[in-house]
Symmetry: C2
Subunit: 157 residues, 2 copies
DNA sequence: CACTAAATGAACATGGTTTCCATGTCCATC
DNA sequence: GATGGACATGGAAACCATGTTCATTTAGTG
């Protein structure tokens, strides 16, 4: 397995190849505004004509995750959802539990807090995960009627 | 399924019974300092002589989670780990990726930040999850040698 | 003591993710 | 143009935590 991640996905890099499949995955990810699961991405790709295996999608997403080129959130049962990282640096999101709408939030405060915890605690190599979820304005009417999720069963608390 | 949660686990509550198994689960949870998985808890209970089904452990932990009497963290593949909530209110933890040592951290800053996001965003019913992980001082020597986890394969980034 | 809803637990189902492994593809070299 | 090794692919099967079913047991009540 290509456990080195696909750094820049350029043919110049040693040990990482640019393939039709990876290009397709990157392309599809770029076209998604919100978070998608590996299966959703695979369905998207195959339904648009691409020939690609589910395994390959999982692998590519995993590599992208290691390379920190995508952001990941988890839903309640533990499923992973991926989104292209909008800019440099570590981003956090506020996600609608109903429709999956995702919006990056500024978490500078939390970053600094986490750094302080790290130095104060005696722990090294401290990492953090942070997820915010709620009901967006569009979904509020439906959600308050106890209706099921509008589009996708995305992240939970 | 007991979808009402086991509120106070007192016989006064209508519809919730105190059983040998639940008492054992609560007892075992109380005896654990750090996070345990459902399976670990089940193993702990059966190996100490109790007769209890894995299903029952899952159900009880789920109920406790709903009742907010336990805190939950997830490891990388999505498994859940439970710990008795140390006091009232929402707690966050710093957990050693190597040995599983868990230490509650004061996250007032984050709580307030999350509330502000909630009001600013137009989202309602905003919830947050936050996890910190690192390598504790005791594990640092072993971890830096690339050795495998000391005791348990607990949470990751 | 009898009765009933709640709880139990073994077997089975589920579903997302990972591993296996045979095959395919790319690239440098001969 | 052929060769070989490293990297990549993908279908099938394994994995594993969790959910579901349902016959049986049990707690607590009347």
């Amino acid at each position: 397995m290509g456990s080195k991640g696909l750094r820049r996905l350029s043919a110049d890099d040693v040990g990482v190849r640019r393939t039709r499949q990876r290009a397709a995955i990157l392309g599809a990810l770029g076209g998604c505004v919100d978070f998608v699961s590996a299966r959703e991405l695979h369905a998207l790709l195959t339904s648009s004509g691409a020939t690609i295996g589910l395994t390959t999608v999982y692998r590519a997403l995993h590599d992208l995750e290691c390379a920190e080129l995508v952001d990941v959130v988890r839903d309640d049962p533990g499923g992973r959802y991926y989104r292209q990282r909008p800019a440099a640096g570590h981003r956090h999101y506020l996600i609608c539990r109903c429709c999956g709408l995702s919006r990056p939030v500024d978490a500078e405060v939390v970053e600094r807090w986490a750094e302080r915890i790290a130095t104060d605690s005696g722990f090294t190599d401290v990492e953090h995960t942070l997820e915010l979820s709620g009901i967006c304005a569009d979904c509020l009417p439906a959600a308050s009627n106890g209706e099921p999720p509008c589009r996708r069963p995305v992240p939970g608390s």
